[in-house]
Symmetry: C2
DNA sequence: TGGCATTTACATTCATGTATGTATGCGTGT
DNA sequence: ACACGCATACATACATGAATGTAAATGCCA
């Protein structure tokens, strides 16, 4: 039965994207057909092709519904919300990104991005991911540089090294957690690890 | 011209696996057909089906030619080669794993594993990877526990937290480096970050 | 009633697996 | 030493199924 109201059409679009999340997560992107997605949403392939140009288009629409953790971190750092200094800015931004990641949709989509699709072909924004990683590293580096200039960092750690340590720890924690979300709490255990890192590199009074 | 000597047959097998590495790396696993691999090796699909049962079998044979970094770390830790203590054991094992990863074949295969295939379906040992990660974490934890008991760790860091920090840093460094091997040197910059971590958590005399 | 949302039907492409063909190396008997 | 036979190491051909994209059909809301 075709042509509901405009609002209903928008609802089926969302339903298709929800279904895509579910099926991609379960079977991986390349092994799911548009037929699978449509059936899981209670529709046929025709609905998919009405709302989206093809699989890649649908995939990107799914991505557009969430924010990249590294983008979140960049935005938080540049916003500098209620932090007491550059190091605190970095710490809070990281913990905030962890919080965002634990939301169900974020978790699903980023699990798909990390563990359910191949980072090559027209479908995947590896370029975007690389640029994001590069941009984020630069913003973090500037923050650590500022902390260094203000004498907040201990002498043993250069800003560049601190940047790599933080960046890799974030990436590793997210990667491991998305692979097995039940093995530990990102906010609690992950936050504890991040807190410890900042504790270690902060110059004591 | 069929039926070469036994040695030549083994050579074509290796050539097929080499070709698989190349094509998987270039196009991603799911988008490469056995035809692609065979042609890239200068053969036809018949050769592939003679040496391997199917794509999954070929994929696993490709994996069998390299050692998993986490397995390398586990082995190094249990071997305890010329280290001066548990912390040094961990540090050297990590750096050794980095060295191994920089070998061309290792680099290619693990890039495929991390960024060119989907961790779902019959083809991929996500089970094995999870078990490896879990085992490695346990071995590392025991090592940190021993360091703690011997008074080598600073008081602020519990063995569990140190374990998560090291494990996530390794994972993050490897992940980032495999995505863009030219952006930094795993041995140099990565090693520096690891060294710094151990410097920070080691109790000073 | 006309355009919008969706289904149905169809043509095409492509990868897979298997079955068959085929020439050669290799052991065997004499 | 030499022919014979068979298993080996591939290439070729074919049948199948699955996914894609598109065109036509259909019903509903405004």
């Amino acid at each position: 039965m075709p042509r509901r109201t405009k609002a209903e059409a928008e609802a089926t679009r969302e339903a298709l994207l929800d279904a895509a999340e579910d099926v991609f997560l379960e079977k991986g992107v390349s092994r799911t057909s548009l037929e699978h997605i449509a059936r899981h949403a209670g529709m046929t392939r025709g609905a998919v092709y009405w709302h989206f140009k093809n699989k890649a288009d649908l995939f990107h629409a799914m991505l557009d519904r969430v924010k990249m953790p590294l983008q979140q971190i960049i935005d938080d750092i540049t916003a500098e919300r209620q932090a007491t200094g550059p190091l605190d800015t970095l710490r809070l931004a990281t913990l905030h990104a962890f919080e965002m990641l634990e939301r169900p949709r974020s978790c699903r989509v980023h699990t798909i991005l990390m563990h359910r699709c191949e980072f090559i072909s027209d479908i995947n924004p590896v370029e975007l991911q690389n640029r994001l990683a590069s941009d984020c590293r630069e913003v973090v580096r500037r923050c650590f540089q500022q902390a260094h200039d203000e004498g907040l960092l201990i002498d043993e750690i250069a800003p560049d090294v601190a940047t790599l340590m933080l960046h890799s720890m974030i990436g590793g924690l997210v990667h491991d957690w998305l692979r097995a979300p039940d093995s530990f709490s990102l906010r609690e255990s992950g936050g504890e690890a991040i807190d410890s890192l900042f504790h270690l590199i902060t110059r004591r009074a």
